[in-house]
């Protein structure tokens, strides 16, 4: 699955310029699903990235695991979900030395949450690279109840916490790693526009 190209939007809508090797510096790599292909491409570009790499992978139903393990990074871990590897990821960030590079690849939900964690841990923004691959589902925060709904693929969608029907904004918070969802029928309760698939 190739890199995703997003349509032009407002300036907070994140774009993911793609992974470029920074050589054999200490590196944390985190990918989910089709994001594995971005890691494979990165390693093909420059094998030395793996020399001091800690690679974490969330397969999400894909079978890229063995090929990633075969890249022979210094540390390799498969995890069933981001939540499951969060503490390990945080430990890696806390242990990181100056100059450590963070490579993120896969879905927006993963990239957004991992970026927020990394910034909160004090990693400079220019040490974080990202590449979007795979499905274009979004991680949305309900502005009303503040609950996060993962893997949103339609606009509007129903908040998985409070049940309000929300429209999908492009306004994005790096601190929360989420887009903003706002009640779509606030002015005319019950009048919900037709549900559409989200486009890139």
């Amino acid at each position: 699955m190739p890199r995703t190209h997003f349509s032009p939007s407002i300036t907070t809508r994140p774009v993911y310029p793609g992974l470029t090797s920074q050589g054999a510096t200490p590196a944390i790599l985190l990918a989910d699903g089709a994001g594995a292909e971005a890691i494979l491409d990165l390693a093909a570009q420059d094998r030395s990235v793996m020399d001091r790499a800690h690679l974490m992978f969330i397969p999400a139903g894909t079978d890229f695991g063995p090929r990633l393990a075969a890249l022979n990074p210094r540390m390799y871990r498969e995890a069933p979900s981001f939540a499951a590897c969060l503490e390990r990821f945080r430990k890696a960030l806390a242990d990181a030395h100056m100059g450590t590079q963070l490579y993120l690849a896969g879905t927006e939900g993963l990239i957004g949450q991992a970026t927020a964690e990394a910034l909160a841990a004090g990693l400079p923004a220019d040490a974080i690279q990202s590449e979007h691959r795979g499905h274009i589902a979004r991680r949305m925060q309900c502005v009303h109840c503040k609950g996060m709904t993962e893997n949103v693929t339609t606009d509007p969608f129903v908040c998985s916490h409070c049940g309000l029907t929300l429209f999908v904004r492009d306004h994005f918070s790096r601190r929360l790693g989420a887009f903003q969802g706002v009640c779509v029928d606030a002015e005319t309760p019950g009048l919900i526009p037709p549900v559409q698939e989200i486009k890139p």
């Binding site: 300036t11 907070t12 502005v143 790096r174 706002v182 002015e187």
Partner: protein, 346 residues
């Protein structure tokens, strides 16, 4: 002039009202018969006597009721006031600025006595008397930003300056024109303005940021911004949009004069001395259309501005759905006569 503080509400039964003097001093935001975005900054160095520009922090007849409304909003949602950990010093800077300004500008309402870092603050309208140690947060009932902004009309954002940008890292936001502090906290100048249409392409934000990064202590600056609100509601937050949204559809030719309000923000910007942050008070003034048209110049001009406003702006400001009714109503107050330059009544 002795201020008579109104006993009034900004929700439910909406008893908010402007006195005749309140209408005359309303900061009408249009200095000509048309409107487009601009940086429109000018020094905040006083202004016409009796106007909202005269004092550093304007205190008007709505002060006590607005602070009561803020308390209701905060009880319901404490996340309307947040401060990232590195912003406490800026909070103290702002507390000092407000206490010093108010006690000097309104000595009959506010008093500040300082003996080194031992301060004694008296706020007569709200019946508050507080002795505390400056820069020691344990001597106040809450953080310095929350403490002083529970006593100061308007929303207040504190902007940290680093990396050649401004970062919205603290704020007290309870009367916002539909934006969320909880979502936007931590964003830089371009990020929190990202949803504004057109202005970005016009370079407005680039120029405004360049100016603000060089803002000097003792030289505050100001601008006016505006939108339209149905009912005199301060809490038009996105958090509660599903609660107040239906009110927006209650405008009819019979109700538009009394229920449709012009909402004006007097925005001021202040460099703070210790933290080098910028304080950004956003003071909200409300005036119903039927009160606005009692000033003939304003009735004529508002009709022309709203009639000719680009659709995109009416949409962004959230009143596109009511614009036809508003413009029809205002038309009867526009006899086509020329209007004088500037914002003040003739």
């Amino acid at each position: 002039m002795t201020l008579q503080f109104h006993d009034e509400t900004f929700r439910d039964d909406y008893t908010f009202h402007n006195s005749p003097e309140g209408i005359r001093r309303f900061p009408f935001p249009f200095d000509q018969d048309s409107y487009m975005y601009s940086v429109n900054l000018e020094p905040h160095a006083g202004g016409r006597a009796g106007s909202p520009f005269e004092k550093r922090f304007d205190v008007d007849e709505h002060y006590v009721a607005e602070m009561r409304d803020r308390e209701i909003t905060l009880r319901d949602d404490p996340l309307r006031c947040q401060s990232l950990p590195h912003m406490e010093l800026a909070g103290w800077d702002f507390l000092e600025l407000v206490m010093v300004s108010k006690s000097e500008d309104y000595p009959d309402l506010f008093e500040l006595h300082r003996d080194g870092d031992r301060w004694h603050w008296i706020n007569r309208p709200l019946g508050i008397e507080q002795r505390f140690t400056f820069l020691d947060a344990t001597t106040l009932p809450c953080g310095p930003l929350e403490y002083i902004t529970r006593q100061t009309q308007g929303d207040h954002a504190l902007l940290d300056q680093r990396e050649g940008n401004l970062w919205m890292d603290a704020g007290m936001i309870t009367s916002q024109a539909d934006w969320s502090l909880d979502f936007d906290i931590g964003m830089n100048f371009f990020e929190w303005h990202a949803p504004v249409p057109k202005a970005n392409e016009m370079g407005v934000f680039q120029r405004a940021l360049k100016f603000l990064l060089n803002l000097q202590q003792g030289a505050p600056t100001r601008r006016l911004n505006w939108t339209m609100t149905v009912n005199p509601r301060l809490d038009t937050s996105p958090e509660n949009y599903h609660k107040w949204g239906p009110e927006k559809r209650t405008i009819t030719p019979a109700t538009v004069g009394s229920k449709q309000y012009l909402r004006v923000e007097l925005q001021t910007l202040w460099r703070l001395p210790r933290s080098n942050a910028i304080a950004f008070p956003i003071r909200c003034y409300l005036c119903s259309l039927e009160d606005i048209v009692t000033v003939p110049k304003w009735g004529r001009r508002l009709h022309r501005v709203l009639r000719d406003l680009p659709d995109e702006l009416a949409e962004y400001k959230g009143f596109a759905v009511n614009r036809p009714v508003i413009v029809d109503y205002l038309e009867q107050f526009d006899d086509g006569a020329e209007t004088s330059p500037g914002i003040f009544p003739d």
